[in-house]
Symmetry: C2
Subunit: 388 residues, 2 copies
C-alpha cells in the first residue's frame, strides 16, 4: 500500500507529465508515450533522466552539455536550438556514453545509439502522407561469395502488386561507415521519400535495394572491415572488394530472379553516403556494363578523384564516358567543409575532361542524414528519365 | 602521432581481441564485429565494458551481477550458465540501467533494451536455413478509427510472388506489453520459423500479420495505455477496445484489399503473447464471424477465464462453440508459474463445458521469447488444416 509520501510523489509526477514545460512537445523519435526529450518551438531541446546515484550526467548532441541534478535524482537540461533533421546523440553517465531510454535507437558508429528528429519547418517530403504507399521488404538471399545467407531491404513502389506486367528500374543505396542496411530504411526514410515523389510524378516508380556493404569471404578476417584494436563503437572505412563481388555475382542475379526488375545497365543506378559513396563509385564505375547512374553523397572518396587514374581510367575520355553515363551526381552539405571540398575537387576534375555531372550542395547541413535525405530526393528525381 | 604508451595499449588491446578467453564466442545478438558479450560452451556469459569514471557497474540478466574493474577502467564479469533463448538485459552504470554498446537493442519494457541470444543445442527451427524464404513487408495503412497511418509487418510465404493465383489464410500475431510490432519479427523470428515449417510441409503457406496493439482514437488519452505517473520504461496492461476496432474496421479490409488473402472466418487465426494473448482472445472470441483459430501464449488473462461470463458467454455452450472453433490453443512455459497456473485454470474451465482445446507447456522456459517461439511453432503446425 502506498505511503503518503509515495502518493505525494505520484501526484507530483502526474502533474509533471500533465503539464510539460512551455510550448514544447515530445520528439517524434521518442519511444511510444515518452515525454522526453522535448522540442521547443525555437528548436531548443530538453532532456531528462532518472539517475539518483550518478555523479555526473551529460548530453552529447552538438557539443557536450552538463545536466543538472534535482533533489529527487532527476537530471535535466535544455540545450540551444538544434539544426533540423536527424541526429545521433548520447547521454553520458559518469563518463559512459549510453542511450536515452526515452528515445528510439538507431544503428550508427557501429552501435545502437539514441537519435532525435528535429522538425524542419514547412518541409514534408519525408513525412508519411496520404498517398499510395509502397512496401519495404526483407529479402534474404544466399551469397556464394561469402558462403552465407544475407539480408537486404527492397523497396517496391506502390503499384508493384497491382501492375503485374510492369518491370522497374533498380537503385542500389549504400549506408555509411558504422551503419548498416537499416540506415536508409529507418534514418533515411527512403520508402516515404519515394512514395511521395512517385505520387507527385517527380520520380518514376523504381525498386530500391538497400544492402550491407560489410561483407567477408570465408576465412577473411573481420580486421579487413574494422580495426583489430578497436573497441565496440569504433569502425573504419575500408572499401573491401568483397561487397562488389557480392553485388555482381549474387545480389543482382538474385534480384533479377525474385523481382520484376528491368535488366540492363540503363535501368540500374547505384549511390551511397559517405563510406557508401566510395562503394557506389567503386562498384558502379567499375562495372559500367551493369550500371549507368551514379551518386556520391558526402563521399570523402571524392577528395582523391583523379580523372586520369581513378576507377581504371574510365573517366579520362570524357566524351566516351558521357555516352555511357546517364547521371553522375555529386552531393555534399555546405556545413561539412571537408566533404564539400572533396565534392568541389571532384567536380573540377570532371570538368577538366568534360565529364557531365550534376552538383547538389545541401544548404546548411553537416555530415548527417538530412544531407542524405535531400541528396536522395535530388538524385531520385533525375533517375531513369526518358526511358521506354 | 601515437605515443609509446598509446602503441603499447593498442598492441595489448589487439592481443586481447585476437585471443578471447577459452572456448567462448561472441553472441549472435552482438553488433557486427563486437567481441563481447561472449558465450562459453557451458552457457556462462562474459561481459565487458569500458567505464573508467564509473563507481559501480553491474549486469542485470537472471539476477544482478557486480562487474569488476581492471586498472585500465575496463569492467568485466562472467555470469553463471543462462537458459537458452532470447533474453533482454541491461548494464547498470552507477544505478542507471543502460544498453550494452556491444549488443543489438530490442524494443521491450517500453524501451530499447540490450538483448542476448543464448544458443539452444540441437535446435534449429528458428535459424536461417537453406530453404526458400518468404518476405517480411512493411505495410502502411490508414486507420479511420485512429485517424492516422499505421505500420504493420506482413509475412508473405516463399511462393507468394510466383504462385500468383494462390490465396492464403491469415494469422494475426500480437506482441506483449511494452513491446511493439517489431517484437514478433526481430525477437520472435517469425519469418524464419514459418519458412522452415513451410519447407518441411509442417505448416501450410500462410500470411502472418504483425501489428501494434497500442492504438488511440483522436483525443483519447495515452493514459489509457500507460500510467500517467509512469517514467519512461514503465508500461501497464490495458486491453483497450480501440485496437480491436482497428482490426475489424481498418486492418482486415486493408489486408484483404492489398494481399491475396483467403477471406472468411475459416481462414483467419489470431494469437498473442502475454498482453497480446488478452488482445487475441478479446478480438478473436469477440468476432467469431471473422476468426476461427485462437492462441494464448503466456496469457495472464487466462487466470480470469470464466466460461459462463467471459467473452460475452460464447464459451458457455461447448458444443456450439466447438462447431465454430477450429483451434483453441493455450500455452505457457513451465518456468513461469503464474501463467502456467492461469493456463491450467483456463483449460479446466473449458473442460467443464466440453470446449475442445490444445495445451502446450514449454519445458523449462519462463516469460520469455523462447516460450513464444515454441508456442508459435506448435500453434502454426495446427493452423488451417483440412481446408480446400
Amino acid at each position: 500500500m502506498p505511503t503518503t509520501t509515495t502518493i505525494w510523489l505520484m501526484l507530483a509526477s502526474a502533474l509533471c507529465w500533465a503539464q510539460p514545460p512551455g510550448d514544447s512537445h515530445p520528439a517524434v523519435s521518442n519511444v511510444w508515450g515518452s515525454q522526453y526529450p522535448r522540442i521547443h518551438s525555437d528548436l531548443r531541446v530538453s532532456f531528462r533522466i532518472q539517475a539518483p546515484q550518478a555523479q555526473k550526467v551529460q548530453v552529447r548532441l552538438g557539443g557536450t552539455h552538463d545536466m543538472t541534478r534535482a533533489e529527487d535524482g532527476t537530471w535535466s537540461v535544455t540545450i540551444p536550438p538544434q539544426i533540423p533533421g536527424f541526429h545521433y546523440y548520447s547521454l553520458v553517465v559518469d563518463g559512459v556514453a549510453v542511450n536515452d531510454p526515452g528515445s528510439e535507437t538507431y544503428f550508427g558508429s557501429s552501435r545502437q545509439s539514441s537519435g532525435i528528429e528535429i522538425p524542419e519547418k514547412g518541409v514534408d517530403y519525408y513525412e508519411v502522407k496520404n498517398v499510395p504507399h509502397g512496401e519495404v521488404r526483407q529479402f534474404r538471399y544466399f551469397s556464394q561469395v561469402t558462403g552465407a545467407w544475407r539480408r537486404a531491404f527492397v523497396y517496391t513502389p506502390p503499384d508493384y502488386d497491382t501492375n503485374l506486367k510492369a518491370r522497374y528500374p533498380v537503385l542500389l543505396l549504400q549506408h555509411g561507415g558504422g551503419e548498416d542496411e537499416r540506415g536508409w530504411v529507418v534514418q533515411g526514410r527512403t520508402d516515404i521519400i519515394l512514395d511521395n515523389l512517385i505520387a507527385e510524378k517527380q520520380a518514376v516508380p523504381m525498386i530500391v535495394v538497400i544492402d550491407n556493404s560489410y561483407a567477408l569471404k570465408p576465412g577473411e578476417s573481420p580486421a579487413a572491415m574494422r580495426p583489430p584494436s578497436g573497441p565496440p563503437g569504433s569502425f573504419r572505412i575500408v572499401i573491401s572488394p568483397t561487397f562488389g563481388e557480392v553485388v555482381v555475382k549474387d545480389l543482382l542475379p538474385a534480384l533479377d530472379k525474385r523481382y520484376r526488375t528491368r535488366a540492363g545497365r540503363e535501368h540500374r543506378a547505384i549511390a551511397g553516403l559517405s563510406m557508401g559513396a566510395a562503394f557506389a563509385m567503386q562498384i558502379g564505375l567499375g562495372n559500367l556494363d551493369r550500371f549507368s547512374h551514379f551518386g556520391s553523397f558526402s563521399g570523402t572518396v571524392m577528395r582523391d578523384l583523379d580523372v586520369k587514374t581513378s576507377y581504371g581510367g574510365v573517366l579520362n575520355d570524357g566524351a566516351a564516358f558521357n555516352k555511357k553515363c546517364r547521371l553522375l551526381f555529386i552531393a555534399a552539405g555546405t556545413a561539412e567543409q571537408s566533404r564539400l571540398d572533396a565534392a568541389r575537387h571532384a567536380r573540377a576534375e570532371l570538368d577538366k575532361v568534360g565529364v557531365k555531372h550534376v552538383a547538389f550542395d545541401s544548404p546548411g547541413t553537416d555530415h548527417e542524414w538530412l544531407t542524405w535525405r535531400r541528396s536522395l530526393r535530388e538524385f531520385a528525381v533525375r533517375l531513369f528519365r526518358n526511358q521506354q
